[in-house]
Amino acid sequence: MSDAKKFMFVNRKAPYGTIYALESLEVVLITAAFDQDVSLAFLDDGVYQLKKGQQTKGIEIKNFSPAYRALEDYDVEKLYVEKEAMDARGLTEEDFLVPVTVLNRAEMGKLMEEQDVVLSF
């Protein structure tokens, strides 16, 4: 897969309040279907997308959080969470639906520099 490009999806919005989180997830799945090298970064309120225990029956919106657990079936296994964002929201790695790599802001910035394509949501 020598012509695979490095794609990073940058997620900075909370789920449900806006459509960004769901739209990002859909584009991630499309990209993965084309055998690209996909990374997901979660910054700011985007870290809330990965929170365990989402129960959306009361707001009558589809709970799309189980899809993050299905990402590994599409060989999307590079999930990065910004440490400062996680800390500012009282969250820890145990709060997330899936295993993630926690990076500080400087490390996240360096990782972004290594990408061929960056898509921001």
Partner: protein
């Protein structure tokens, strides 16, 4: 007055502006604003300080959708949609801080 907030405290100044402007009364946190009422959020101190001047409510379905039903700050009152309606009818005026 009932003040309704729907933005996350960490992405918008809406809650901050409401707290600094409104003279008192009720505040209802809905949609992404419910994050302000969760333990460990950076806005926790600001919200606790406001409790002296405002009565704070949170819309439970929005809190549960975000997986944070067990993180509610003590002193914040949970309401369902029926409680939302009661708040709007019990207050003379409502302001949605969009």
């Amino acid at each position: 007055m009932l003040n309704i907030i729907n933005k996350s405290p960490l992405t918008s100044v809406t809650l901050d502006t409401c707290l600094n402007t409104a003279a008192g009364g009720d505040i209802l946190l809905i949609e992404d604003a419910v994050y302000a009422a969760t333990r460990g959020n950076a806005a926790e101190a600001m919200l606790r300080e406001a409790m002296g001047r405002f009565k704070i409510y949170v819309l439970t379905p929005d809190l549960e959708a975000r997986g944070l039903g067990d993180r509610l700050i003590e002193g914040v009152t949970s309401v369902d949609y029926g409680g939302f309606v009661d708040l709007t009818s019990n207050n003379k005026t409502c302001q949605s801080w969009l």
